[in-house]
């Protein structure tokens, strides 16, 4: 189904859910769970935290349905909740010390196995993304990882497309320089 078709289907499901139809809301969860989870994983760099954040985001979407503005796409609104929840989660985590096992080893010179190398690079990307300022990280994740247009990402972040473009560019440059440190 194309994006327009999905949006129209979402609108019908939102209307059902607003009437109190749990089945309608469940279908919305099914449709959007993978993208929402991908967004949270990229924002947080941690799958366990991401699963909790996505569950909380969907519950907030359910309780917030009366406030949902029909002019927006359900996905845009949901992504906004996921981004906010992810930032809140990271702020909570920042107040706790990082567990030792989450520390990523720098690649050792004698480790030549391709899978190990790839895993180390992915960990480095995750860590570098997580270290970005919140506004840059959100702009980067939405545009580079979820492949949203600047205008759509701007709607999610309640800002302008130019602001998203600038934040994403700063994030990409910072990320690349950080990756250069690891390589």
């Amino acid at each position: 189904m194309d994006a327009d078709g999905t949006a129209q289907g979402d609108a019908a499901l939102v209307a059902l859910a607003r009437e109190g139809c749990g089945g309608g809301f469940e279908e919305l969860v099914r449709r959007h769970q993978t993208r929402a989870h991908t967004l949270a994983v990229r924002m947080l760099g941690d799958r366990h935290e991401a699963a909790d954040v996505v569950q909380e985001a969907f519950v907030k979407a359910w309780t917030g349905l009366p406030r949902f503005d029909d002019r927006a796409a359900f996905s845009t609104w949901l992504y906004r909740i996921v981004v906010r929840e992810s930032i809140d989660q990271q702020r909570r985590r920042a107040r706790r010390p990082l567990p030792v096992e989450q520390d990523v080893e720098r690649p050792a010179t004698d480790r030549t196995d391709a899978l190990v190398e790839q895993r180390v690079r992915e960990d480095a990307v995750r860590r570098a993304v997580r270290a970005l300022p919140e506004d840059q990280r959100a702009a980067l994740v939405l545009t580079a990882f979820l492949d949203l247009e600047h205008a759509e990402a701007a709607e999610v972040l309640e800002t302008t497309p130019d602001a998203v473009r600038g934040r994403a560019a700063r994030a990409r440059r910072a990320l690349m320089r950080e990756m250069g440190e690891w390589a």
């Binding site: 109190g20 469940e26 994983v41 996505v54 519950v59 309780t63 917030g64 790839q118 690349m176 990756m179």
Partner: protein, 221 residues
Amino acid sequence: MSEHDPAAGGSAGGGPGADVAPDLDRDTQPCGTPTDALLDVASGEPAPPDLADHAGTCVHCRAVLSRAEELWEPVRQMARQEEPPPPDLVASVMAAVRRLGREPLHLVLPDERGTTRVGAAVIARIAEEAARRAVGVAAVLARDTRAELVDEPAGGAPGGAGAVGVADRLVVVALAVVTDLSRPIPAVADDVRARVARELVGLTGRGGAQVDIYVHDVVVA
């Protein structure tokens, strides 16, 4: 790229940046090209025509582009991967939604000096009293809507938390009304809505109240 120094650029003899060590930390390359512009291109942004023309022949730019594309590749790979959610996510969300329907709701009234919480039963009682004063209403009870909201068998009694919903600044109250046929039902409903909304906003200071009405029965005098 007006900043380019043609003398510093020039054609590369070997492969991309074969004899030039790329330096991503400097603001501009020796040819005058801003490094950030090259990093943008390496990460997939469209290159301005003048930069594309220049970078095609400049050893410094080609070296930076080559290195930056290499660094960006893990990000590109990660962008192609979706992160499958846990298999029980849908069930967990719906279970949480159902639990929500059973938990006591309250209206939160924040204040600089503390927080006041008004229980759902109190809101339901205020709404019932206000609705009862409307002409044409013979009886009224706050109506439990939890069963409809979560697709579960009805289990709650009228007047409980299921009759009241709170979302940010909006309070939603569901009322079951018995009319006495002295007025048209729409007029009774309008009167009930106006009275309940006025009373709730007046007593709680909240910005809005939505009143859903179910006309349950009529009494004939």
